[in-house]
């Protein structure tokens, strides 16, 4: 008779899927690479430099915080800090000095993430809080550091049409200011302020909503933050995430659908005359919709809750674009909805199997 063997005990289940947090985070990093290539193409080597500075600062800050708090430092290399660093850099204008994303990333990791307990415990999206911190602290850099696409290659020759419409072109003087190539959303925002000049607003808007402008938005040949401009490259990344089973589509689809709906409802001068496609493609909606609205930690876990989150963020984005103080509302809308997440989760808890609704 054979000798009886002794084995370790463990709780069931004894098998598990091969997906883990680290793989998910690195998948998101991979999905963000196409947009980085687009950033390099349109804004030149300085875009890469800013992204590298931001990612480096994020990982270093994470490592220092963990070391300081005597926690396992290998968390710094699980990819989540890299994602935060990338997203923060993608959300700053390409014309800012290198230290700006460094400060933003350090703030994002140290204050928005580690101060709340690290991975999984932060209340709001760290990259977006980092960006909000930068907008509040360095408003001029964050709202004027724009570079026209291809400027780094073509030197002085600025393709004005490519910017959608530049602020300067629309200014009273009619002079073009090469140093402040604006974003299409800046241009749209301005048209809302020309109350007495409906014809001029209409003309600019028809330019912004033109086929040519939409095409530029889609390819990324516009002014904007480093990683947000090229819709096609962001979509490539999103498709990768869907194929890898990382992306749950309720959040992005409800957000994009909501932006399109409310963009059409009140995204123009009056009612029902907005261009939903323009609102989807301009600014940070695609970047936010696939990479920030979908941040797992700060969004609801319930299926119904995710739809509420997406619709709410879309509505807030459009309200800020139309009536708020900033031309773009994507990041603040997501931050505000992040704060509602615990409440949404609580009120959308599904009725469990075989449970009967009380007083129903």
């Amino acid at each position: 008779m054979t000798e009886n063997r002794i084995f370790d005990l463990a709780v069931s289940p004894h098998v598990g899927s091969s997906k883990n947090t680290k793989k998910i985070m690195w998948d998101v990093v991979i999905a963000l690479i196409p947009a980085l290539i687009a950033a390099f193409w349109f804004f030149g080597p300085r875009a890469l430099m800013l992204v590298a500075a931001s990612v480096g600062a994020a990982v270093l800050t994470e490592w220092l915080c963990l070391k300081f708090m005597k926690r396992p430092v290998n968390f710094a290399f699980d990819g989540s800090a890299v994602v935060t660093g990338l997203l923060l850099a993608y959300n700053v204008p390409p014309g800012v000095p290198w230290w700006l994303p460094v400060i933003g990333s350090a703030f994002a990791i140290a204050v928005a993430k580690q101060a709340f307990g690290g991975l999984g415990h932060n209340i709001v999206n760290p990259a977006l809080l980092g960006r909000a911190f930068l907008v509040a602290s360095f408003p001029v850099l964050m709202t004027a550091g724009w570079i026209a696409p291809m400027q780094w290659k073509d030197g002085e020759r600025i393709d004005v049409q490519a910017c959608g419409v530049s602020t300067a072109q629309l200014s009273e003087s009619g002079e073009f200011d090469a140093l402040s190539g604006a974003t299409p959303l800046n241009a749209l925002k301005q048209t809302f302020t020309w109350e007495g000049e409906p014809e001029r607003s209409e003309e600019v808007r028809s330019m912004l909503f033109s086929k040519e402008s939409i095409k530029n938005l889609f390819m990324g040949r516009i002014g904007g933050c480093i990683g947000e401009t090229s819709v096609i490259m962001l979509l490539l990344g999103a498709i990768y995430l869907v194929l890898r089973g990382v992306l749950e589509l309720r959040l992005p689809l409800s957000y994009l659908g909501s932006v399109a709906l409310f963009g059409w409802l009140f995204g123009g001068q009056g009612w029902l005359d907005g261009n939903p496609l323009f609102h989807l493609l301009a600014g940070g909606v695609i970047l936010g919709g696939f990479f920030m609205v979908t941040d797992m930690v700060t969004t609801p876990v319930t299926k119904k809750g995710r739809i509420i989150f997406g619709v709410g963020a879309g509505l807030l984005t459009m309200v800020i674009r139309r009536w708020g103080g900033y031309p773009e509302g994507c990041s603040y809308s997501i931050l505000l909805m992040n704060l509602c997440t615990p409440l949404i989760d609580r009120y959308t808890k599904p009725l469990s199997f075989g449970e009967v609704k009380k007083n129903g």
Binding site: N4, V11, S12, P13, G120, S352, F353, E355
Partner: protein, 437 residues
């Protein structure tokens, strides 16, 4: 061909069934010594009625029924009682057992077959199923006769036979459906007659097309089910097959349904038509940690080590030994433990098959919520449990969890969600008992 049905939610763990699904059942002789547990069924253990030195016959009662939810236990062999002691068990650390020295394995004291079950008195049939010690052979081991004795006023209109076998690796039920199809259908019809059901059906996952074809050819009504874990969980099977939701905290009979495992049907046929008590079962031995995985017909009380030897012995670095399937089965600390009526499989898994991870922080991805077949928020219950907030865990539905393990399976953070939830269940029940006392 009928439509493929399913429940909502669930996951798709890799089946690994081809390791053993092609292996015909091999009947193993009784080992020299059998350790027959007195706690093979759910409920109160049988009370031992033998003492060391007693001669026992195959089929003779060695432990008598001890309450309503309890069953008698029979000797699987002719032989001599060596000891009545606490022995290691596959599903708990140790439990009462009768250790018998085997002399032979034929004849013995089996029951008279019930003559003509189609017209026999129903109470006679139920009593036979009880005295033969038949319990659910799918793993939960609930006494079968109790399910056949619904309380006054409860009308049962549906009988579903569970041939789903959704646990990875396990193929015992699959082989049983192929090799014992006639006995299975007879057992199903006996149960249908007892319950007054006219139209019983068998639920089978579509990854067993040969079993579906065979049973349909023999005239059984088969419900095709999607390959999705946990399709074979009682409540999910009822939902998929007939679209009824068993109330939370309720039983299938609350919606007029009784579910019985395919192995139970064969055990019923053995008991009713042949007078044979429940002393043998079919068990899968599989995993990358054994040389030749297969399916075996063994006496209850056979040590697991004997089964492993029958499957060619251990291979490589066996990380874990499991009684049952890898999703809900119990890890065993020793292969000295015996096979019971509920042992659907013995798995020896190597490190590559086992998920052994350090628990990470929850990243709130919501995958556990997406897959839960009971629509619970596993992460919420588990977090409440970790912080000792038992009331919060109860409010979040901790007691409804059946520990199917789908949430833990998909969790990217490697959280031991089932463990946390089970702990909350224990604490909540203990608190309730303390309040009553």
């Amino acid at each position: 061909m009928s439509k493929v049905k399913s429940f909502a939610g669930g996951a798709h763990p890799s089946g690994n069934k081809d390791l053993s699904s092609g292996a015909a059942v091999v009947r193993l002789p009784a080992p020299e010594v059998v350790t027959v547990p007195l706690c093979q069924h759910l409920g109160a253990p049988s009370r031992p009625v033998v003492k060391p030195g007693d001669e026992v016959k195959r089929g003779s009662v060695i432990g008598e029924q001890n309450g309503f939810i309890s069953l008698p236990t029979h000797s699987p062999v002719n032989g001599k009682v060596l000891r009545v002691e606490n022995a290691p068990m596959p599903h708990m650390r140790s439990g009462p057992a009768v250790v018998i020295k085997t002399e032979s394995e034929d004849g013995g004291e089996v029951y008279e077959p019930v003559p003509d079950w189609r017209n026999a008195d129903i109470s006679l049939i139920v009593n036979r199923i009880k005295e033969a010690g038949v319990c659910g052979m799918g793993g939960a081991s609930f006494p079968t006769y109790v399910k056949l004795s619904p309380p006054e006023g409860v009308k049962i209109d549906t009988l579903i036979i569970n041939g789903v076998e959704c646990e990875p690796y396990l193929t015992a039920d699959h082989r049983l459906m192929l090799e014992r199809a006639d006995d299975l259908i007879t057992g199903m019809n006996i149960l249908a007659r007892v319950l007054g059901v006219t139209d019983p059906c068998i639920g089978i996952e579509v990854n067993k097309p040969d079993a579906i074809e065979l049973l349909e050819k023999k005239g059984a009504k088969v419900i095709r089910l999607k390959v999705q874990y946990p399709q074979g969980a009682e409540k999910q099977l009822i939902d998929a097959a007939v679209g009824r939701e068993v109330p939370a905290g309720g039983l299938p009979l609350n919606v007029g349904v009784v579910v019985q495992n395919v192995g139970t049907c064969v055990a019923v046929t053995e008991a009713v038509c042949k007078g044979m008590p429940c002393i043998r079962r079919i068990t899968t031995v599989s995993g990358m940690g054994v040389n030749s995985p297969g399916n075996f017909n063994v006496c209850v009380g056979t040590p697991v080590s004997t089964l492993i030897d029958a499957a060619g012995g251990y291979k490589g670095d066996v990380r874990r030994l499991i009684s049952g399937g890898p999703m809900m089965g119990m890890a065993m600390f020793t292969d000295a433990a015996p096979v019971t009526k509920g042992t659907s499989g013995i798995l020896a898994l190597v490190p590559a098959e086992v998920r052994d991870v350090v628990e990470g922080p929850c990243i709130r991805c919501g995958k556990c919520v997406d897959v839960c077949p009971l629509r619970l928020c596993a992460s919420v219950i588990a977090t409440a449990s970790e912080y000792g907030k038992w009331e919060d865990a109860e409010k979040a539905g901790a007691l409804n969890c059946m520990a199917c393990g789908t949430c833990s399976y998909v969790c990217p953070a490697g959280r031991y969600l089932v463990h946390h939830i089970k702990r909350a269940q224990n604490e909540i029940r203990a608190l309730a008992r303390a309040r009553e006392a």
